[in-house]
Symmetry: C2
Subunit: 475 residues, 2 copies
């Protein structure tokens, strides 16, 4: 019994039928992966950089085929494909460059008076399972941040395709295989499997040949994986990026022009691609009174005429509708839905509005609504606001919009550094840049481990252990 | 109902009676700790360096009092005290120096054409619970590697004194408090509690104000803590260093002089301070035949006359006797006990001998025996030896003794890099040096996370999260 992917633009199932990888095939791939690990561990970072560039070349040669499948399986626009494509190419190049820079992953110290030489090396942790995201069929999936980081670390990679874009994943996997054939590495360092549900993934996380997991998805999914990983006879690290509400705090005292500009940017960040981003601003703390009213007016106006776009999948659309309903049934929450007509699984952009007290006493309001939705919380006291922010769970980002960086603003920054992995000052959180200084992660439940990032070359350390080699003379 | 510590040298309980910290007192310390964290998080690394040096100064002024209590509670010699003392002072100085070097813990990147400035900072993860070791009353306890790393990271520290050396811990805690009073930091960034059992510790690991745990002890203890930490509503990282068998592989072809020298060093590493080190060589893989026989003869001879010393505690002595008995009842295991007469809780040094096949088929032989014991495994095939080593659980260290670094030796090094956190070539694993290039850790169950070290300034990253601050202009 096979399964199919969905075309959100046509609001219908695609014709291709996929068969889940069999247990037998999985077993053979896992054993192949494990047997190739030690050779790949010994590979030079320079050769791994070459491999990443071959992948980029191979992808480029298949760009139009991948784009067609990508759009067919996600309903995302060609412009969005182009942005994700650029990000993927940039990641491959940036990591290749980093590998060349860090080509030894080694620190050496000589204790000359004792004739002891000590080297500390970063080595592959072992085979990594990668489970990509639903919302980035390219840049955080088959050859997304996790796979690139794991390859860069010298780890064999087993990708479980996201069931919503299996076709795209298979095309990308094929590119990886062809790129691999151009290297000296054994073909078995990469494996790709497909499954409609979570059975195979759960089995793989528990398999003692897998040494780490990279996951992007829901809190529930991430927690389930963390639990399996922790209950193995030998627990393994899981890096799970599980989403966030991304609070934005608008301070009073903005000049009206700035207020309009930022309202425009925030509106865009909420609506763009139906707000299906882990960094979409989902909570807007807006001052009460006239100034806040004007800001909200500008925010609503900015996107009244924006055409709605389909969401990624009927399941995501249903969740969106369900969560919006949950929020809107809370007493003292007022809902404003963009009046533009929607059809199929298009997500209508929606703002809800309430006050600090109602927000604080309703956990339902503090959880992510995945889609083009934001909850506005009006505040009239910065002290009360601080108290509420202190009670929030961990976030990927938190943003502050202000005209002057007062000591009060500084104290909010300090507070938010304990709540989020990235603080944005006078900007919006969407559009995570792939840089060495980027941190994409945050305290639980935004991610499983606030010490690591999912974006940028520092993400390689998630998949590297350290080993010291100490060389002496017997006599 | 209080509890007492034990004097191994006199084989009797010390007279001081200690009362476990009450729940009420613990609650107040935890809330104090949590309320001081944000101020300490903002402190400058330079000021934290100063604090570490004040601690060293204060300890120095109390050296003789601490030494007296240390010896009384551990039975360890003044020479050993001196070694641990030097290590503790060195750690404080090395970390202080490191903080001065890394004084910003920050990387900055300017995206000039977009007027965006992005900084990535390492910040304190939050209050840390430290549970020190039984076998290092000073260097891995109250102001040991974990506490120094946590303070250096900017984390408030709650130390639970090891029940076997509560008196020493209280003296050291007093020094920390006096040093703290010389700084501008609030007194509440450090708290010290005592408890005879594990109740308070379990409660603290589950408390949502604690954000990380440093633990040194048994696998059973470490796993229990990992489980509590993982099952919290917000899981937290635990760094547990849980011990190891530290395999040493003696290759054939050593010249007789080298063979004697290394036998002498290994004997010393097994017997020194009753072998109560996490890096004590517990498994010796020795070639079969005459050459191996000669090596073993030299090993036995080297320490025949060494006087036994008391173990740290009756409980540790009993475990040692129990584990030796377990090993010696395995068929085809021959036991050689040093004939010197022992009394009280002195640990007699013991070698057991078997072959690869017996070793491989008995899990009991593959587990640590804490004390002056080593299991000799004779091998006649390097391929079979590799197979057995591949099946070992994770280790803190693995050592190779050879005359020429052949490609065969290299292949063993590669194999062992997957099994241990430190590889020693032609030396013994004891005497971990506190250096920037040191890695003290290893794959599970040697430690809970092979990506981090418990020794050296890199251990600070266990207790730091990353935050990126992205600063833009609205218009």
């Amino acid at each position: 019994m096979g399964f199919r992917t969905f075309n959100p633009s046509l609001n219908s199932w695609n014709s291709e039928v996929y068969e889940a990888t069999s247990e037998l095939e999985l077993a053979s791939k896992l054993s192949e992966l494990a047997s190739c690990q030690s050779e790949f561990s010994r590979s030079s970072p320079i050769d791994r950089a070459r491999f990443l560039r071959f992948i980029a070349e191979q992808l480029s040669s298949q760009k139009s085929v991948i784009q067609e499948m990508y759009c067919k399986e996600s309903g995302l626009s060609p412009e969005r494909f182009s942005a994700e494509w650029t990000r993927t190419m940039h990641t491959l190049e940036l990591f290749a460059h980093y590998l060349e820079k860090e080509y030894t992953f080694e620190k050496v110290q000589e204790l000359a008076n004792e004739s002891i030489s000590i080297r500390k090396k970063r080595l592959a942790i072992g085979p990594v399972l990668v489970m990509g995201s639903s919302n980035f069929p390219l840049a955080y999936s088959t050859i997304g941040g996790d796979s690139v980081a794991a390859f860069a670390a010298g780890c064999c990679v087993l990708v479980k395709a996201h069931p919503m874009h299996v076709g795209t994943s298979m095309l990308v996997a094929k590119c990886i295989e062809i790129a691999l054939a151009r290297t000296e590495f054994p073909q078995g360092i990469f494996a790709h499997i497909i499954d409609d549900g979570v059975n195979l993934a759960q089995q793989i996380v528990a398999d003692n040949r897998i040494q780490a997991v990279g996951f992007t998805g829901s809190i529930r999914g991430g927690k389930a994986i963390m639990e399996i990983a922790q209950n193995r006879p030998s627990p393994i690290p899981v890096f799970a990026e599980m989403g966030s509400c991304n609070p934005m705090i608008i301070f009073p005292g903005l000049n009206p022009d700035d207020s309009k500009v930022i309202a425009q940017k925030i509106g865009q960040a909420i609506c763009n691609d139906a707000g299906q981003f882990c960094t979409k601003p989902g909570l807007l703390f807006v001052p009460s009174g006239m100034e806040g009213d004007n800001f909200l007016h500008a925010l609503k106006e900015a996107h009244l005429t924006k055409s709605p776009v389909p969401m990624l999948h009927p399941r995501i659309f249903e969740n969106y509708e369900r969560r919006k309903k949950e929020v809107s049934t809370v007493p003292q929450v007022e809902v404003f839905t963009c009046p533009t007509h929607t059809q199929g699984i298009e997500g209508a952009w929606t703002l809800a509005e309430t006050n600090l007290e109602v927000f604080q006493s309703n956990v339902l309001l503090q959880e992510e609504v995945f889609g083009p939705f934001s909850l506005v919380i009006r505040y009239d006291s910065q002290d009360k606001l601080k108290h509420v922010l202190n009670g929030l769970p961990g976030q990927l980002t938190a943003s502050l919009i202000y005209s002057v960086k007062t000591t009060e603003v500084e104290s909010f920054i300090a507070l938010l550094c304990n709540k989020a992995g990235r603080i944005i000052l006078n900007g919006v959180p969407t559009g995570v840049r792939v840089l060495e200084v980027m941190h994409h992660g945050g305290p639980f439940p935004a991610s499983s481990d606030s010490r690591f990032t999912a974006v940028g070359p520092d993400s390689i350390t998630r998949f590297q252990k350290e080993v010291t080699i100490q060389e002496e003379n017997i006599s």
